[in-house]
Subunit: 510 residues, 2 copies
Amino acid sequence: MICERTFPLNTENNKLQLVRLGIDTKNEFIIFMHAACFVCKSEGFEASTRILVTANNESIIATLDIVHSDILKPFQASLSENAWERLGVKEGDFVTLSHENPVTSLKFVRSKIHGNELNSGEFDAIISDIVAGKYSNIHLASFITACANNNLTMNEMIHLTKSMIKVGEQLHWDHPFVMDKHSVGGIPGNRTSPIVVAIVAAAGLTIPKTSSRAITSPAGTADTVETLTTIDLSIKKMREVVSKEGGCLAWGGAIGLSPADDIIIRVERSLDIDPTGQLVASVLSKKAAVGATHVVIDIPVGTTAKIRSDQDFIKLNECLNRVGKAVGLNVYVLKSDGSQPLGIGIGPALEAKDILAVLNNETHAPLDLKQKSIILAGAILELGNKALPHQGALLASQLLENGTARKKLIAICEAQGGFKEPPTANYTHAIVAPHKGSVTEIDNRSLATVAKLAGAPHDPAAGIEFFARIGTQIEKGQLLYRIHAESKGALQYALDYARSTPNIIKIHRE
Amino acid sequence: MICERTFPLNTENNKLQLVRLGIDTKNEFIIFMHAACFVCKSEGFEASTRILVTANNESIIATLDIVHSDILKPFQASLSENAWERLGVKEGDFVTLSHENPVTSLKFVRSKIHGNELNSGEFDAIISDIVAGKYSNIHLASFITACANNNLTMNEMIHLTKSMIKVGEQLHWDHPFVMDKHSVGGIPGNRTSPIVVAIVAAAGLTIPKTSSRAITSPAGTADTVETLTTIDLSIKKMREVVSKEGGCLAWGGAIGLSPADDIIIRVERSLDIDPTGQLVASVLSKKAAVGATHVVIDIPVGTTAKIRSDQDFIKLNECLNRVGKAVGLNVYVLKSDGSQPLGIGIGPALEAKDILAVLNNETHAPLDLKQKSIILAGAILELGNKALPHQGALLASQLLENGTARKKLIAICEAQGGFKEPPTANYTHAIVAPHKGSVTEIDNRSLATVAKLAGAPHDPAAGIEFFARIGTQIEKGQLLYRIHAESKGALQYALDYARSTPNIIKIHRE
């Protein structure tokens, strides 16, 4: 008995006909096959087997779910929506199924787990298999964990970064100075990029900025900019915007520069970690891929920021500089205050509102966000030879205050697909002070959790307005922060967490 | 707009009605909900969200797949088969859905990733959350990887082992000597347990043996015994068998002793790793849970075995002894030859046939399997005061050769549910020597891969018959091993791998 060939079509080639069940798994590629399927039987496939699926000359490795009901017939298969899209198939197409060839790069992952140093070829193999969709979530999580906790040497970070650059597209520009910036995360509301890009482009420099979505924070720059304009630009469109306006604010994930990073970040988010080696490779691979030559990197340091001590800062600074040099980037690192949120808003739309307030020179615009943007833009202007040493900040503040930067941001947004005002949430709840005193400490991580539970970044209008900076004198009942949510469920969930977590904002009784 | 309440039933409680789609995911719990579902909308759930699912006063955390077709209606939900079983639901039942509370033990996993030593309370929290089904595959893979590569201190191994004992049931017997044995894996065909249990029980000792299924090998003892009798015994049934026959050969997974281990092993299999700390905790937690007092542990050492050097052996020996002592077990470790397979068969049924040949005293019975079983059984007889020092092996060989052990095995099988003969595969292919010479080396790992690709352990009759022990003089064209498979696809796949992998059996030209 080899199999019951009740449905004789194409059995000789292990082919099944596709039916679209429309199942969105978001993560892993899944293939659905019926329990009585002749391919399962002849190939010995069981649930959770990893299977090579080929259609239209494209192949992926998918995890098998076995269906025991009549939503599929034994001669049919279905794919999760991400696999459907990746293979570019349509209903009725045939897919060819076979055992995956053992994913040879997994032996390098095991070698890393066992504490060995990997060479550049081994990282190339791992990263290209990851981008080819050959790693399950289990494999990805293991690779990321094995590389965490300072387990990568400097050479390994360089190899990893180069592998991540190689596997994606790389842009080239006809300028000796192609500027970029990056802020290491961990500080809610740290949304300087749109302001910095507007100033730097207004000064006549080239700054093809790509940003990512949130990893573990309530908003990434891409999430924030998405509330103002279109962010999923093609490379062609990005070139157009940059050649017209000098700068852009694109989502890196859409462009496919450093595609490995997009996959790795998803798993890091699930683990709520962002290890140094991956962080360095992630940041620098994107900067190199975008064709940058000079990069200013802002590292906020604070007890609840991502980088918590001067020691960690010094180490990260060194890694960024050395890996940057190895991949041809001129890196300049700035240390900033990471003790509390920047601006008022935390969450995509709320942060976008802060940005607009700063660019509009409104009186209530958050001063800290403005000042930090000026410092970063100033550093870039000096690095790009647009200002003499120590005079970059002055030029930056002029461009901001005379409205040139505002015009540039609107122009960039219009070039990307049109400018729009950020949305406002339907549900809000005020958190007030339980007693009088002065604010002595902010738990950034828990504050970010409240914003995330309220729906950020998935719900663009969700998040927090924050009014309790360190040192503020607070009366009993005074507004500390306001939670914004797009749904009642999310608001309640954020509220439950906020109420049950002590000392998110520490108020010292005086 | 909070949600479209097109289907008003039970919306106030976030309830959905179950439809059985019959999707077997094997691994993670999955919940399927429609894209237009009011619960998704009001709670802000998106694909891959982890959701708390409650029914019949039981809760699990499941990963959300969002369905965009009409296999579900917006007021319905479905569960993967494992979740369906865990919650004990039936079609038409309602499930209540809410955001999972943050899984607090994940912060201990992150702490471990960052290289910190965990205490007993932290391991308890992790292990009980794992058993409660709160960890996704990503979380499990990260925890396992963070504990690999000697990242656990001796104290951590003790904590982990105790946590794994605590979380399951623990048996107690009214005997001062409750014997057990374990062989560390890595050697194909190392299936001494059924023979050892038969001898030891025949000698009048108590040996309530539980075994696991394969982790990374072509067969675990449980897989092999399953071709001879029923292995999924309840604790009650296991007690009956042991009180009647002195011993049993049960599958540990069915009994629910050390349930954490069953979950962890599944992920280790996918990663193809078996780290020391987990190995020690896995082995000893099962021995303690089964109520053993004295345990003989066989560690094969060889270049392609799981333990590859004397140094690794010494380390593992120390870990087993110290952790054993801490959890109240008298551990005795034996080192054995791990350079080549034991017996002829590799794979569940083929190994069972070797076992029967030894017990039947057949002339072609594999001598190495017989001798090793006698040594292990002898050590247990001495440890259990049934033989004087250095006289255990003699008693063991007598019990084997006079047929008492054979009768005992049959009696145990009958007590467990009936004895049956192991099955035979439909497809076989002989691999012959390409040239004359003598066998100098066996790549156990690749040989095991061939057997696994042929279908073992999932297909019980699949595997390898092995005829090329080290030192054997081989003529050109002489049979080296024979691949057995239950399907043509699996046979072809095993064959492709065998042909493309050099030196699985190294034949030195003379």
